[in-house]
Subunit: 607 residues, 2 copies
């Protein structure tokens, strides 16, 4: 086919790789009406295996896109973690402790969830299909050029990245080639990322010597914690149980140093073991409990733990890598898929604001800043956790081993990682910590913690997080104090007048003139449900009757009424700016709106 007949097209964002990271990005961009294309080299979506745990924070994020219901219906929930250690009596193991699987209480979803990757991908694929976006597959990128001349131009008609894609038609073996001109590329193409290699980005870190096997099966066992997340430290090796959908269970099994290593190459050799061999190893650590060999295994693999982070996450704020393309770590802490989806959740709104011309391209620098720092912390945690888990347990005969107390301490200390809730982005153009003292129960740079509020007009309870959807808008939360008091109402009226001024952020960051395109404004009064009149608040703070809330207990039941206390907010009130991804961006007292203006000027295009 002559070159001039090659199909060409333009798109604002091209996503390479339709795993969890790529799909999260694609769904978010499509939902915002951005022109987006996604391609994947796999001919079909992934079927079995490759599951990971879903953290509470990831459930919160999916909920913010309206996608959590199916996850919660289809997934298996892990509420309890159990720990087994050598018994001084039996020569086998015994139950040492059971503790909550998630040590963080402050989440609407205080549990982990397991669901195979295909089911999670299907949730995104169905959502995207509803918006007319499908994955092109099997498609591979074969070349990519970033135009040096155009890369700094943000003119609407300039597409500085030229990508050549090849469609593989496996039925006939014919390859079709096409050229895509795009403004941005997201390389979410996995641990062996073509995009990463194309730009020579190095993976920094090391391979450990720990070798693990994994089997998925429906177990027949007398082990009483087979439906809990259970860590077995035995003198015959370590094992972790991750219960899954239906009656299925995944076992992570520690292998001896040589069991699965090819002596010539020194590399792990999948041919040297099989699921039966893996289960035989597990059976020894289960003793005196028994687990039967099933008729068939659903899936199995072996792996060594590599702990690496990419040296950079983007090239000239035009080409980004995300997910497994920029970090690899051990699967047992259940981080992989979560880190991946949260990478692109962080990136998507920034791309959207830049593409819309609202924010300066420099906003995109915060992606690497926030997510690479997190990945490095994650690797540090993972190293410590994997080491503790792979070492022998402490016993009478092995005083140097890992005690249950050491392991438990690590498990709980790192609860922020295993739940995803502890993620804390540092000071930057979008994290301004200056007025932290006005709401000590909130952490600027962390996600907005959950809170039951009551809607003022009808006393219906709502989870605040559900009022902060991932709709690309900044949320302006007006903690208005007790608006049943005339003096406080006067202050709130003044605030509304001040905030409406043309030099204030609401107007300067609303290019279309419609402030509700870029912002949602919610007010939270501390008046009681008997006293409140929702329509006494100024119009700006109640664009609709459903936008006014109170900090009181619901009419029936015991929830709510502790927002001001939990957040450490004084009755004088405060303004909280929540970023489009749900993280607290800044806080300001009523008389410091100029600091909020300053915050937005930090990344605004300026109209």
């Amino acid at each position: 086919m002559p070159t001039n007949l090659i199909k060409t097209s333009e798109v604002d964002v091209l996503i390479i790789g339709a795993g969890p990271a790529g799909l999260m990005a694609c769904n978010a961009l499509a939902k915002a009406g951005i022109s987006v294309r996604i391609v994947d080299q796999r001919p079909n979506k992934v079927a079995a295996g490759q599951a990971d745990g879903i953290q509470p924070r990831t459930i919160e994020v999916l909920q913010s896109y309206g996608l959590a219901d199916r996850l919660l219906t289809e997934g298996n929930q892990l509420h309890m973690a159990a720990f087994y250690n050598p018994s001084p009596d039996t020569g086998g193991i015994e139950l040492t402790d059971r503790i909550p699987d998630v040590s963080e209480t402050a989440t609407p979803y205080p549990f982990e969830l397991t669901l195979h990757q295909g089911a999670i991908e299907a949730i995104f694929l169905d959502s995207m299909r509803g918006m007319g976006v499908e994955v092109s597959r099997p498609v591979i990128p074969i070349s990519m050029q970033l135009s040096e001349k155009e890369k700094h131009s943000h003119h609407i008609d300039v597409y500085p990245v030229r990508v050549t894609l090849q469609t593989v038609e496996p039925m006939f073996g014919q390859a079709k080639t096409e050229v895509v001109h795009t403004k941005y590329v997201i390389g979410a193409d996995g641990a062996h990322s073509w995009v990463r290699k194309r730009f020579g980005i190095a993976m920094e870190g090391e391979q450990t010597e720990y070798i693990w096997g994994v089997v998925d099966m429906v177990p027949e066992t007398n082990f009483p914690d087979i439906r809990n997340r259970t860590a077995i430290h035995s003198n015959n090796g370590s094992c972790m149980i991750i219960p899954r959908e239906g009656d299925k269970v995944r076992l992570y099994i520690q292998l001896g140093d040589n069991a699965a290593v090819d002596s010539a190459s020194g590399r792990v050799d999948k041919d040297k073991v099989g699921p039966h061999k893996l289960l035989d190893v597990a059976k020894k650590s289960f003793y005196p409990y028994t687990i039967e060999t099933p008729e068939s295994f659903d899936w199995w693999t072996i792996y060594t733990i590599g702990q690496r982070v990419a040296s950079k996450y983007c090239v000239d704020e035009r080409i980004f890598i995300a997910g497994d393309a920029c970090h690899t770590h051990s699967p047992k802490a259940g981080q992989g898929m979560n880190a991946s989806m949260n990478d692109t959740h962080n990136l998507a709104w920034k791309l959207i604001h830049v593409i819309r011309g609202w924010a300066r391209p420099s906003l995109l620098k915060t992606y690497e800043l926030e997510r690479r720092t997190y990945a490095q912390d994650l690797i540090s945690f993972d190293k410590e956790f994997a080491k503790l888990f792979s070492q022998k347990p402490k016993t009478q005969h092995n005083k140097e081993g890992v005690s249950h107390e050491d392991f438990l301490k690590a498990f709980q200390t790192f609860g922020g990682f295993t739940s995803g809730i502890g993620i804390h982005y540092g000071e930057s153009s979008i994290v301004a910590t200056l007025h932290q003292s006005y709401a000590r129960g909130l952490s600027i740079g962390k996600r907005m913690p959950p809170q039951i509020l009551i809607r003022a007009a009808d006393a219906r309870p709502f989870e605040l997080q559900d009022l902060l959807p991932s709709d690309t808008r900044f949320k302006v939360l007006i903690f208005a104090g007790d608006t049943s008091q005339a003096t406080q109402r006067a202050k709130v009226d003044n605030l509304a007048v001040d905030m409406s001024a043309s030099h204030r952020f609401l107007k300067t960051y609303s290019p279309s003139g419609d402030i509700f395109a870029a912002f949602d404004i919610l007010s939270i009064s501390s008046a009681t449900k008997s006293e409140v009149r929702y329509n006494e608040l100024p119009k700006l703070f109640r664009s609709h009757w459903s936008k006014v809330f109170i900090d009181d207990q619901e009419a029936r039941g015991r929830r709510g009424g502790d927002a001001y206390t939990n957040y450490g907010i004084y009755p004088t009130g405060v303004v909280v700016i929540v970023r489009p991804d749900g993280y607290v961006g800044m806080i300001a007292p009523f008389d410091k709106l100029q600091d909020v203006d300053q915050y937005f000027r930090g990344f605004t295009s300026g109209f």
Copy 2:
């Protein structure tokens, strides 16, 4: 068309009328695999107006069929009731009180819900469509004969009721006639029921003199309780506000004695008023608050309150009437649609057990017994409530009027009716109160109250009501006591052996030999989540790992751990039999299984 070419067919149950009562019955029967046909005279499903409130109990019932999610998503929730009375100062009204709309705390849904009837019908229609059942419409019954010879025969091939149906094709005006031979008829054909009239069943009761108008609109108002269920008692008439979906509101407006009555006939004349006139009346009772006349009204009507109950609910346990066909009352207490759906929820499982040959036809007598008694109580309540609401408020100048205290007392006393939770079926073949003292927190004859339990194997919290779906099975709840104690475990083991005996109810009421066709067995241990071993219970009480629960708090959060206390159950344990419709049928201590046998013998066919 010659008679011998008329289409004939057989069906186990023919339902006439596809309103909420008919659809509830049809969905339940179809779900159980019963051969069922449903016809309706309306050419299309109802579009607007005719809304009613949905009570907490009705939400529970819909949830038991897996149909509550959409109801909760689409409906508007009423959490707060507000009361306005004459102000001594302004000459207008003022806020007197706000209280929870639902005074019952013990429900997972402590609120009322408003949703137009068409949306509720659509939930059933979609569910039925998934099972291949559609409403035939527009179809009217033109004759019905019950064979005297065959009516007592319950042979599988005998269809004692012969119904002639006429299909009206409104496009062409051609009527087609067909004959349906059926075992049972449910006449759910509304207040003017053809079925009721065909069998000469009288409506007993009276018409009141109160005349009310109704308008549905999107209001523009400064009234602060426009999104609460609000009762306005003013010197210029009474008005009730029922907020609805979106921004819509329904107003019930009391009319003067003559305003809408034709002086010649003495009857209500819809031509004498219109929505503008009705709203003008409402405006006077709103003073000093204002409510603007909208550009258009969504719906409006006027009515007088009739309070009547049918003299009987069935003919020879072959033909049943349900819903508006057997009771009419005032709409303001929000009872109509609820009573209708609960009628057929009560009837459906009984028909299913009789049609399957498990229960004797006499079981069907309990339908009238339970539901007609309830309707009579409902009418008594309605009379009192409607009277209080229609009378003038008590003021300085009208000492004889209704005080807020009187009204509030009635509102709260009758909370059981307005929530639907207080329904208490009396002693009968399916309500055996003899061992009530073994669980004083449960009321035999009332629905099983909600309770958070923790699943033993994985500490996942569940609402007990969600474990009692309307799947036609009796639920056997084994409150097993503290099974972490060997002595209690021995008692539970003995119970399992006793209950497995061939003369016991599990076997005698399981004609197919599969006890899980007619029963589900759940066990609830009082062991803690740290101590419990779910697999220590006898096999009968854990047919699957998911069938064992504990009475403990969830791993994170404060729910659960109070089932034994709430239900008044001793650590020695007890067996609770829950009927297929969710009502407590009987209770027995471990050593009185013969009384459970006796209970089932009371209505069993005996195999």
